[in-house]
């Protein structure tokens, strides 16, 4: 969780008591869920102030997840790009292979504190589903994961992993058959099972208090990175870069640095086939504010307010919305948001594999693609930290297909 306390005029004091980040966030949910969300808010407040909860969280992050994750100087990539020094925050080394488990450990400990006995989750790439199934196995709670039918096809290794971990994977055939529809279905499950069920949302979105609590659980990334870069370089970085689906790995890295005004911050959305083609997932770059899944935020939609389908080679970025804090950070200009195409991400995937011996997930490959563009334009004494938030094992079939290789 956040270590140093926020300063006056801080960017780190939100949300307000109603869950707003400026104009964004809020609690746009069916009345059936309101008492549950209020109960969760209270339980989270109590947990945050309970040293025992912190201790437990730290214990599992260290011994089960394997934290802290290293901050690694990507020497060959730096040489290849010929500009700024590039560091990887290696959250792909976490147990289960992505940052998602940081949040899942936090939420399942909270669920047990609240006496909940059944866990549900939505998943896109399957990384959050796997992380949720993992913590459910570890703590002995039944787990149901909703996953779009389209994602089940393109992330089959993760589907099998969830099943091995004892979770029930429910394919979602409605709508665009991907992440947003999985979230709809998880919300439908939750309104039906209000007594015993805890919904572990996988990204920093949804109704208040989810954007806040997911962020707080992911801030371990940025807090560690801050300490590690001080140790390695004796100063803060010049630029942070992270990929954005719903925005949890990004806000986890960014948040502890928001008040360090000399640190530039860039979030990378998925441009799919290109923002101009309309087939993309770049809600901040090409969307507008609207209300979906419990919060007001930038969305992809038509002029009637109907949500349109997102498109990205990366299932984890294939979402027509974004966490509300990012919408606010965009509007106030503290964070800069760019978009990277499928093609650029694939090139970055290959380069990272070949010159660093690290096969990244397609999601952070988007962040790497931006680094590939920007590092050569920066001088050699500049420092970039990029969040390598997931490993690419789950993506080898998708990448093989995109490269025209038959496995």
């Amino acid at each position: 969780m956040t270590s140093s306390s926020p300063k006056p005029n801080s960017y780190r004091t939100l949300p307000d008591t109603d869950g707003h980040f400026g104009n964004y966030g809020g609690r746009f949910v069916a009345e059936t869920l309101m008492p549950l969300i209020l109960e969760l808010e209270q339980a989270y407040k109590d947990a945050k102030n309970d040293p025992e909860f912190q201790k437990e969280l730290d214990y599992y992050l260290k011994y089960y997840v394997g934290r802290p994750s290293p901050l690694y100087f990507a020497e060959r990539m730096t040489a290849e790009l010929g500009g700024a020094k590039v560091y990887f925050k290696r959250d792909e080394l976490n147990h289960t292979g992505a940052h998602k488990i940081n949040n899942c450990i936090g939420q399942i400990l909270l669920a047990m504190r609240m006496g909940k006995t059944r866990i549900i989750a939505e998943t896109g790439a399957g990384q959050h589903g796997v992380a949720t199934a993992t913590v459910c196995a570890r703590f002995g709670l039944p787990c149901t994961v909703y996953m779009g039918a389209k994602d089940i096809e393109r992330q089959s290794p993760n589907v099998f992993r969830m099943k091995l971990l004892g979770a029930e994977v429910k394919p979602v055939e409605s709508g665009s058959r991907s992440l947003k529809d999985a979230m709809n279905e998880a919300l439908r499950d939750w309104v039906t099972n209000v007594e015993d069920t805890f919904y572990i949302i996988g990204t920093a979105a949804g109704p208040h208090p989810y954007p806040e609590l997911v962020r707080d659980f992911q801030c371990v990334i940025g807090n560690e990175a801050k300490e590690q870069i001080m140790e390695a370089e004796g100063r803060l970085p010049d630029l942070l870069v992270a990929a954005i689906g719903g925005g949890s790995n990004a806000i986890g890295l960014f948040h502890p640095f928001l008040d360090d005004k000399d640190v530039e911050i860039t979030g990378v959305e998925a441009a799919g086939h290109g923002v101009h083609t309309g087939k993309h997932a770049a809600s901040l770059t090409a969307g507008a504010p609207g209300v979906l899944h419990g919060n007001r935020t930038y969305l992809l939609m038509d002029d009637d307010g109907q949500i349109t389908e997102a498109d990205s080679i990366s299932a984890g970025l294939d979402y027509p919305g974004i966490g509300p804090e990012h919408s606010w950070l965009k509007d106030i200009g503290r964070v800069n948001y760019v978009a990277i195409t499928d093609k650029e991400a694939l090139a970055a995937f290959k380069l990272c594999s070949e010159c660093e011996g690290i096969i990244p997930a397609l999601e952070p490959s988007h962040a790497l693609a931006h680094v590939i563009k920007i590092a050569p334009t920066m001088s050699k004494d500049k420092i970039i930290i990029v969040n390598l938030c997931g490993r690419g094992d789950k993506d080898i079939f998708t990448v093989a297909e995109a490269l025209g290789v038959k496995l």
């Binding site: 109603d18 809020g26 609690r27 746009f28 949910v29 069916a30 009345e31 059936t32 869920l33 309101m34 008492p35 549950l36 409605s174 709508g175 947003k180 529809d181 709809n184 919300l187 439908r188 309104v191 039906t192 099972n193 209000v194 609207g290 209300v291 979906l292 899944h293 419990g294 969305l299 939609m301 002029d303 009637d304 307010g305 109907q306 949500i307």
Partner: protein, 282 residues
Amino acid sequence: MSDAIIGGKDRIEKRFAKLKEEGRAGLVTFITAGDPDPEASFEILKALPEAGADIIELGMPFTDPMADGPAIQEASNRALAAGMHMRKTLSLVRGFRDQDHETPIILMGYYNPIYIYGVAEFLEDARNAGVDGLIVVDLPPEEDEELCVPTVEKGLSFIRLTTPTSDDKRLPKLVQNTSGFVYYVSVAGVTGAGSASNEQIIEAMERLRRHTKLPIAVGFGIKTAAQAAEVARQADAAVVGSAIVSKIAESLDENGKATDKTASMVTGLVRELANGVRDARK
């Protein structure tokens, strides 16, 4: 604009006063605007009062109806595929209102299409079209400033959903800023799921009546005339949605298009439900 046409909470209040006079509960019917296509939907809408609907809930189609079960999700999809959008929904109401000055119409749906239309413009257009009230599923009292308060100021009803999770602590907040009637969602779940037992409904009615004098309509899971009658013995109105919408689905041809049976199959069911409701307290 003639006063006979513009929408307002008065029309809802008058309707409940009339029901009280007749000593019976009302039947509230739900269809999705534009399902299965705008023309067929208009035919169905026009035929509802004659078939026995006392109040009409008209769904505003949305791509992501998070609180709806499969039947109403599919109705929304059919309408959107047939080119339905908010302006057409309002002109559907306007067409209805030209002929029927008495049956209240309540638009029901999700906030985003209204937000994108623009709240002030939407309320103005809705009122002028003859819309009397709104039910917006994803706007709890915590978000009243968004739409509820402006709706009430415009003279329309903002009807609240109360649920099995609405306890004595929560209810005072729920009956604030509301008018017309209070909707009791009798089961925790999505539309079209299971139904509540009679005892559960009686208990909920007692709880609700401790907090409000407004009429109470009960819905979720009512499929048959017998179920509607049972609810009508306790509540001021019974709401039927998924069963009617499923009837529309059943009436379509193999290409999903309306047939000459579509309107009559719907009115047939509504007639049965209305008889159930009307005979309930005899």
